[in-house]
Amino acid sequence: MSDRVLLATFEHEDDLLAATDAVRRGGFEIVDAFTPYAVHGLERAMGLRPSRLTWVCFLCGMTGVLGMLWFEHWTASIDWQLDVGGKPWNSLPSDVPVAFEAAVLLAVSDPCSHSSPSAACFPASNHRSSTRGSQTIVSSL
């Protein structure tokens, strides 16, 4: 038996949300939904799991902060100690601004470099393809 694919278009986002929800509850497989703008609640209606980018961002940020703090400590306390205004070699308060900026830089650059290319190269990575049963594509104009 061949797969049947249903393509639907809607004029209102509420209809799209209701239909997507009904289709998911009915046990059909939703290939994807296309919208010209982000429709709130669509991911929930489609049953998509939340993106893991948040964790990537957090880990990169932590790496940035800890890495930069270590670097500042190493350059000022270990490698070449310079007396700057009588401040201690390892002056943690003065290390904070640069460490924070490095954290933000890393936290942003990694997820962004991964999210867009991965979406473009692997558009169906969050999608399990099934060869049996009917599949439904729901789309809105």
């Binding site: 004029e11 994807d32 948040t54 961002c57 490698d79 205004g85 290390d95 999210s115 979406a119 558009p123």
Partner: protein
């Protein structure tokens, strides 16, 4: 229908627009040829830019001696302009990131151009620390890379170095935030444009955007993360800039009020610049239905609230100087109000504290020419604020025998004019090549119809 309060709040988009109207209206200024007005504005800003480039070229080739600085007044126009432009940049990030976190849907009409303004303002700002170095060709020494001079590392204890990291990070994050936000709109432009260079470029730049719900999910996640990270950047970057002064020891600079004072002042001046640009853009590009009077009203209120904080800071500084009993600190404030630069001080106070109070009146907030004049004066006043802080504190500090005067040279003035030239040239080009309003965001926020109401009711009758 979907939002019960939709009838209670003023509509985000007036004029009974449909979703496709949004795309058409915002794409229209990009599709048509540049108008004579655009060419005139571009000619003016480009001329200013060339003047600036010539001045900077001459200054780098000849030396910092071409400026009016001396041993006493070591910073003047250079750092004033730097702080001025960075401050302007912060309002863009506030509108894009902070208002997003506060779920203020009205930001969608102005956030794209505000974020573009930030990008160009930070570019203008970054020029000044670069050219104020004695040897700008060695600027890369500011970066901590393994070198053959020891290796000699940068001084992480110095706010001047914190600035390097802060401004670089701010420029990078603003660019990324702006670009990621642009992706769906670039796809719209790709789909809408005729075959040609615009279609080809946007096809590449939109990274294969297809409007899939999975892509939207990732996009929204990244957007939220970027907004969440850009928000502390607004506060941290200008705090670090204020530390350039606060960590020094001279009276008038060495005060803990500087971080919140500078951040509030930055948002104040930046919102004034956003309003300047938006008042012109909405008229010239016929976008009054999207950047409505409600938007102008809300931005005026935000600007005023920041202006009140700045005014409070002026009073607090003055009171702290008096209450401290420190003769040097008290002298700085007497000198500001009554000394050789009193004209700058009183310009600052009248433009930043007195004149914006007019905006308490709803009637005046709704009168565009009045708002326009006020925001220009706010920008003038905020430039003078940085000038007053820097020059009046430097030119007469502890030792009277070191006291000196300062006057800018033509090179400094030309460089300043050139920075405006760069800013407006970039912004005018932006208006031509990118959608000035965030198309996808405003569609999502405004709850628009797909078809005009008359047509849909007649269709229902037919069925």
């Amino acid at each position: 229908m979907s939002s019960g309060t939709a009838t209670l709040r003023p509509p985000l988009v007036t004029g009974d627009k449909t979703i496709s109207d949004v795309t058409n209206d915002i794409y229209a200024p990009m599709a048509r040829k540049p108008t004579a007005l655009w060419w005139a504005a571009f000619g003016l800003s480009f001329t200013a830019l060339i003047v600036g480039v010539a001045a900077v070229w001459y200054q780098i080739a000849t030396g910092i001696g071409t400026w009016g600085l001396n041993k006493t007044v070591g910073w003047a126009f250079d750092i004033t302009n730097f702080v001025f432009w960075v401050g302007i940049g912060h309002a863009g990030t506030l509108i894009s990131a902070v208002l997003f976190l506060f779920r203020q849907k009205w930001r969608t009409a102005v956030n794209r151009s505000a974020e573009a303004m930030t990008l160009f303002a930070v570019m203008c700002a970054g020029i000044f620390p670069l050219i104020h170095m004695g040897r700008p060709w060695l600027a890369f020494w500011m970066m901590p890379y393994p070198n053959t001079r020891g290796p000699l590392w940068v001084n992480f204890k110095s706010p001047l170095l914190w600035d390097v990291f802060a401004i670089s990070t701010y420029l990078a994050i603003s660019a990324v935030f702006w670009y990621v936000g642009l992706l769906p709109d670039l796809a719209t432009i790709r789909d809408r444009s005729e075959p040609g260079w615009r279609k080809r470029i946007t096809s590449i730049l939109c990274l294969g955007w297809n409007g899939s719900a999975r892509t939207w999910l990732r996009y929204e996640t990244v957007y939220l993360l970027l907004a969440g990270l850009a928000t502390p950047l607004v506060f941290s970057v200008h705090t670090i800039v204020s530390m350039d002064f606060a960590t020094a020891v001279i009276p008038g600079w060495h005060t803990t009020i500087f971080p919140p004072y500078f951040v509030a002042g930055a948002i104040f001046s930046g919102l004034a610049m956003v309003l300047t640009l938006m008042i012109i853009a909405r008229k010239v590009m016929q976008l009054e239905d999207y950047i409505t009077m409600t938007h102008i009203d809300r931005m005026c209120k935000l600007m005023m609230s920041m202006g009140c904080i700045v005014g409070l800071a002026y009073g607090t500084e003055f009171f702290t100087a008096f209450y401290s009993g420190n003769g040097y600190e008290q002298f700085v404030f007497k000198n500001r109000a009554l000394g050789p630069f009193a004209w700058a001080y009183w310009t600052m106070v009248s433009c930043n504290v007195v004149i914006p109070q007019l905006l308490w009146s709803k009637k005046l907030r709704s009168t565009l020419p009045v708002v326009f004049v006020i925001v220009i004066l706010v920008n003038v006043g905020m430039w003078f604020e940085r000038f007053v802080i820097i020059v009046t504190s430097l030119h007469r500090d502890f030792l009277p025998s070191s006291w000196a005067d300062y006057a800018p040279t033509w090179i400094e003035i030309a460089t300043f004019v050139g920075s405006f030239g760069l800013f407006f040239t970039c912004f005018l080009i932006f208006c031509r090549i990118a959608p000035v309003i965030a198309i996808a965001e405003i569609k999502g926020a405004a709850h628009l119809k797909k078809r005009p109401s008359a047509e849909s009711s007649s269709k229902e009758k037919a069925a």
